[in-house]
């Protein structure tokens, strides 16, 4: 006696094989002589293997190291020290200071990018001449490399010959040498570089808002503020949240820009501390633990954002 629902299994197999045959025969890949299995073998499996070898394996391996006193600069074996590295790091006032600096940087930088990026998108979301060209030009900063931007802005900030002080009439104002100003100078550079990214996403969101909603609001004599807060912002909010998620993660990881621009301890972001610990001091075990602390923090922040994004979408 055949097992219950066996006919269903047989039907599904037939259906699947028909689909594969159909796909193989009809797809362009099949026309070139590549079957789905070949595509899997040629592209998907190598990609997964690449990810396992270069991402997953080091991730797990470094987790193991984070519980040891391993130093890559010596030939001494790694000794298991339990949670000692995590305890030391969480009790280290320098590390907390680095986290506080990073948090301040992320807030200033992301809020700045949101305001500038969204503001420019609002300006561009109307019929203006040469709109395409202007949009393309505004996107240029984010296409440059971080190192180039860092070196370029280092010159702009220079107190002796920098254009910024000259343009603003600030004399010899020291942007990068002033401990209180250095972090904001780095954040300002980041805002200049990445506001176009927020602008691009915002522009996509703004152009997707149905025009009839604005027409209805105009008929009801709604003011610009009311229209903005009741129509524009709620409808663009989900895409803005995506921009915030991306930019927060990136700002949290910022290294090159701050490293090139300034030496100020008041601008030493957590990634710079991590780099020094791992590659200048060669405290490999400890730096692995620190990397995990940073990873957990980024995941936690991203999770909060994603939950909020889902709430916004549900409205």
């Amino acid at each position: 006696m055949p097992p219950p629902f066996a006919f269903l299994r047989i039907r599904s197999r037939v259906l699947a094989s028909t689909m594969i045959t159909t796909l193989d025969r009809s797809s362009r890949a099949a026309a070139r002589g590549l079957s789905d299995i070949s595509i899997r073998n040629l592209f998907i499996i190598p990609t997964i293997l690449f990810l396992i070898v270069f991402n997953i394996f080091p991730l797990i391996y470094s987790l193991g190291y984070s519980f040891t006193d391993f130093r890559a600069s010596t030939n001494a074996p790694a000794n298991f020290v339990g949670l000692q590295n995590y305890r030391d790091l969480l009790n280290d006032p320098y590390v907390w200071s680095n986290f506080a600096i990073t948090a301040k940087y992320v807030i200033v930088s992301v809020v700045g990018q949101l305001l500038v990026g969204f503001g420019v998108a609002m300006l561009l979301n109307r019929d203006i001449p040469l709109k395409g060209l202007i949009t393309t030009l505004l996107l240029l900063p984010m296409m440059l490399s971080m190192a180039v931007v860092g070196l370029f802005w280092k010159l702009l900030y220079d107190p002796s010959w920098g254009v910024i002080n000259y343009a603003l009439g600030l004399g010899n104002f020291e942007w990068l040498a002033d401990p209180k100003m250095a972090l904001y100078a780095v954040a300002l550079t980041d805002i200049w570089m990445w506001s176009p990214f927020v602008m691009l996403l915002s522009l996509a969101g703004l152009s997707a808002v149905p025009k009839h909603l604005y027409e209805a609001a105009a008929i009801d004599r709604a003011g610009p503020f009311y229209t903005f807060f009741r129509i524009t912002l709620p409808l663009v909010a989900p895409i803005l949240m995506i921009a915030v998620i991306f930019r927060t993660m990136e700002a949290f990881k910022t290294f090159d820009l701050a490293y090139i621009l300034t030496s100020q301890p008041t601008a030493e972001l957590i990634s710079i501390r991590l780099y020094k610990m791992a590659f200048q001091e060669w405290q490999t075990g400890r730096s692995c633990a620190m990397a995990y602390i940073v990873l957990i923090m980024v995941l936690a922040i991203t999770n909060i954002y994603v939950k909020y994004l889902n709430k916004v979408k549900e409205r």
Binding site: S73, S160, E174, A177, S263
Partner: protein, 438 residues
């Protein structure tokens, strides 16, 4: 058949390629160093070696900021990309105890290099631990921190008169740290875009430490006791506190934005008419006497680090020794290169090319001392140098110094005494962590 022919040809090609590469490997050596002029001079010297022996020398370089990271990444991977490395003096501890350097004690003793090379270079570039009689490198590039200055500014009669009227003594090369400070103050004229002095302030690696050491050692201070690892009462002694205050005082007279400056910026201070005096390693001085890189070349003079208030005169040591990498497959060939390198003739050639020889005989020779405007100051300095800790954990100590000294120097936070007390506590904790003190 076609497939068979293709396979055979591919096989022959591969065999030839491998054969050529093995042959080339046997006849070549790779030396790793930082990207700067002396590395080019070493390449030229290597070309001479190739002419004599047929062994090709390649000096591979990387920017200073990556030098330590790249070298140790290769060591940690036990890679044989480099046969020899011209490592920083602070690396000796990490290089030797980490098993990355070949023990050169027998080589050192065989050729009596303790006598052949200048004593300071043997002590700081080759021996680890201190006074152990174990050697891990051959002194290659002697270097120390010295000073360049604008002769035309110093010799201007109006400036001389004004200086004498203000300070009561003649404007000349500074005789001590007080004069250094006075001259820096005298030439500090922001309204004319002229400034007194250019010093090291960058805290990414060892620039800040080297700059501070110049003041510390001349004030009679020390970083600690290198044999017992005692630091409390030494690095925060009264002399050390006075030295830190003196170094911070100089920062007041630097050009604006001088908070991340190292050798490039300090040379620019002279070439761009920014400062009257500039601190730098002697190895960076050749470009200051070259008119194509320094429009003020004819008006640039040099002097050794001046004495402190009690007459002590020392300078921070730079420079490097050359070591054989223990993972190299060509250690015998590398040893032959070192045998050639330490010969008197080679040392003379090295000095003539622009390298700072560590050979005591060449350093003392009148030819060497008169070869450039700064060689005499270099010779004087090389017998009065002191260095940073060379223990394997030196990078942590350096980082702690940067974390403590920089905020005081540049940000003005706390006092010199508080800064150095905190540094002593940090270093003590680090030495405890590594079991050097109880």
């Amino acid at each position: 058949m076609r497939k068979l022919v293709t396979s055979v040809l591919a096989g022959v090609g591969l065999a030839l390629a491998c054969g050529t590469s093995v042959h080339a490997q046997e006849k070549s050596l790779t030396i790793f160093w930082a990207e700067w002029d002396p590395a080019n001079y070493l390449q030229e010297l290597g070309n001479e070696y190739e002419k004599e022996t047929g062994v090709k020398i390649t000096v591979e370089t990387t920017p200073w900021s990556d030098f330590q990271t790249k070298a140790f990444t290769e060591f940690n991977a036990h890679g044989d990309a480099y046969d020899l490395v011209v490592g920083d003096s602070q690396w000796l501890g990490a290089g030797s105890t980490g098993g990355h350097y070949v023990d050169l004690t027998d080589f050192f003793n065989k050729y009596n290099l303790k006598e052949v090379m200048a004593p300071a270079t043997v002590k700081y570039y080759a021996e680890y631990p201190g006074n152990s009689g174990k050697y891990w490198a051959i002194p290659l590039e002697g270097d120390a921190v010295g000073w360049s200055y604008r002769k035309d500014w110093f010799e201007d009669p109006k400036e001389k008169e004004a200086f004498k009227a203000k300070y009561g003594y003649d404007l000349d090369v500074p005789k001590d740290f007080k004069a250094l400070r006075d001259i820096a103050e005298f030439f500090y004229r922001p309204d004319q875009k002229k400034y007194g002095i250019a010093i090291y302030t960058d805290n990414s690696y060892d620039a800040m430490a080297m700059g501070f050491e110049n003041a510390l050692f001349s004030y009679g201070g020390e970083l600690g006791d290198y044999s017992t690892y005692k630091v409390d009462g030494i690095v925060n002694s009264d002399k050390a506190v006075a030295a830190l205050d003196a170094y911070k005082e100089l920062y007041k007279f630097t050009p604006p934005g001088w908070a991340k400056s190292f050798f490039v910026e300090d040379n620019q201070a002279i070439t761009e008419n920014l400062a009257a005096m500039s601190m730098n390693y002697f190895a960076f001085f050749p470009s200051l006497i070259n008119e194509s890189s320094n429009p003020n070349a004819k008006n640039t003079g040099f002097f050794a680090n001046p004495p402190g208030p009690n007459g002590d005169q020392f300078a921070a040591l730079g420079g490097q020794g050359i070591s054989i990498v223990s993972y190299s497959q060509k250690q015998d060939e590398a040893m032959k290169f070192l045998e050639w390198f330490i010969k008197d003739d080679t040392q003379k050639k090295w000095a003539a090319l622009g390298g700072y020889t560590c050979s005591a005989a060449v350093l003392k020779s009148p030819e060497f001392q008169s070869a450039t405007p700064y060689n005499k100051a270099f010779y004087e300095t090389m017998f009065k140098v002191k260095d940073f800790w060379a223990v394997p954990e030196y990078a942590e100590l350096l980082q702690q110094l940067n974390q403590r000294v920089y905020p005081y120097m540049i940000g003005g936070s706390g006092t010199a005494k508080e800064t150095l007390d905190a540094l002593a506590a940090d270093w003590n904790a680090t030495f405890k962590k590594y079991g050097r003190v109880k």
